[in-house]
Subunit: 244 residues, 2 copies
DNA sequence: TCTAAATACCGACCGTCGGTTTGTAATGGA
DNA sequence: TCCATTACAAACCGACGGTCGGTATTTAGA
């Protein structure tokens, strides 16, 4: 098949190193997906946003699904290294280390939420459920061994007492997952101006989660301090009135 | 636009009452979706299976998504009435009623799994995650009030002692959700012939879940008896060698 | 009982989407 | 300098979800 010669004033042909191009496309795609959801963003949209042709795109990605996989992988890798770093930075007995780990985790999530509006964009929009589910599922699965290992060490140490290490780890993660709904409500409240009430709702949820974890780990009430609402409070404010 | 006269030996024109037709289409669609997943089943497939034309289909359903909604709704309604019935059939103190409720629940799930291969078809196939997620999410959300109400009654009665009623309810549901993975493993084992080991794995999981719920409800270990492995054992066998 | 409105249904057609193919300009090593 | 490889462009394709004009059957009103 013959092909028209490229129109003289046609698009510029910009060459990039494969890694750079991939990252470039990925960034554009991620922003679009977070904003409008997986299904509502077409390959053409990504093409326009990234300033590349279809052929160029499919030279770097095999399918639309590959974009999702890559985004998920990026998040997973980040979450895992952050979790490992957080864990390595802990000291003291199992409970102290566990608390420090949880604090670092929520600090990470909160700052991430404030900086890139991950939570607002991904969580609030309906239709982004699939996206959110895949990302968190993968990230949680990656981080799970770290969590379970911490619990196991606590058991060995005699600080924790659990029915089943793996199940308790999964339960903690699964329960924390539900925080998304509370966070979503709080965000709506905060955007409506009622930041204090929003913080309060979040705080109560965190306290309750802490008490549940106490029980799961066989600890006296109040041992696990998940109640670092400061971080989430800061995040709420950062989202409500964003700063450069 | 002129249209060809319908070919003489063309498709028969069968008229049905709207409700019947809807249900008919829905059944065909559900079977296909459970078998091959949401994305891999086209409207045309449903058309062929249901023996209806495109125009006929879109006379009863506004979009493909409507099929999902309808299926989800059907399941939700079934689950809710079953849960309410199970709850109404209980007696005794809160713990006894709770145990009876759990037993009825798993009996319902197990028999359902055995009868219509819901679990095998929907859960094992990769790609059916979306389908499974939407169905269980809706069903759980519908049943949640029943669960929470039972817990609240136990608290009022003084039998239970929980940090936060709603959170505990959600946690129990979320944890039970994870059983899907264990069930999936067990199913694979059972289909490989090792039914005993499969039952055993399931049993251990159920015992652990029971102990977790004990703690969540502030009960002594062994209070909650989730360990009715008989039901699941029967289900496993029913799936492995199905009977007419 | 005749007729007209309502409605269940048909199937060709359409726009869009994800993905493929064919062709070309830039790059770098020999 | 040549040429193989790479990075990209753009025309193209089949399939999909959905629409639309039209037809057959039932139902309601007189």
């Amino acid at each position: 098949m013959k092909q028209e010669p490229p129109s003289a004033s046609g698009s510029r042909r910009v060459r990039m190193a494969p890694d750079q191009r991939r990252a470039h496309i990925l960034n554009a795609a991620q922003a679009l997906f977070f904003e409008r959801g997986w299904e509502d963003v077409t390959i053409s949209d990504v093409l326009d946003a990234a300033g590349i042709s279809k052929g160029g795109f499919y030279h770097h990605f095999a399918a639309k699904e590959d974009l999702l996989d890559a985004i998920v992988q990026r998040f997973t890798a980040e979450a895992l290294t952050a979790a490992q770093a957080a864990r390595a930075a802990t000291s003291g007995d199992a409970l102290a280390r566990f608390n420090a780990f949880l604090a670092a985790s929520s600090r990470w999530k909160a700052e991430r939420g404030a900086r890139m509006k991950f939570f607002t964009d991904v969580m609030l929009r309906p239709g982004n459920d699939i996206l959110f589910a895949r990302i968190t599922a993968a990230a949680n699965a990656a981080v799970m061994p770290v969590l379970i290992d911490m619990i196991a060490q606590g058991v060995d140490e005699g600080t924790f007492d659990v029915p089943d290490t793996a199940l308790v780890g999964e339960t903690i993660t699964a329960m924390s997952q539900g925080r998304r709904v509370t966070l979503s409500d709080a965000l709506r409240l905060a955007e409506g101006g009622d930041v204090d009430r929003a913080s309060d709702i979040l705080y109560r949820r965190l306290v309750a989660e802490g008490e549940v974890i106490d029980r799961l780990l066989g600890l006296p009430r109040g041992s696990v301090a998940l109640s670092n609402r400061r971080e989430y409070g800061l995040m709420l404010r950062a989202i409500v009135n964003p700063e450069p």
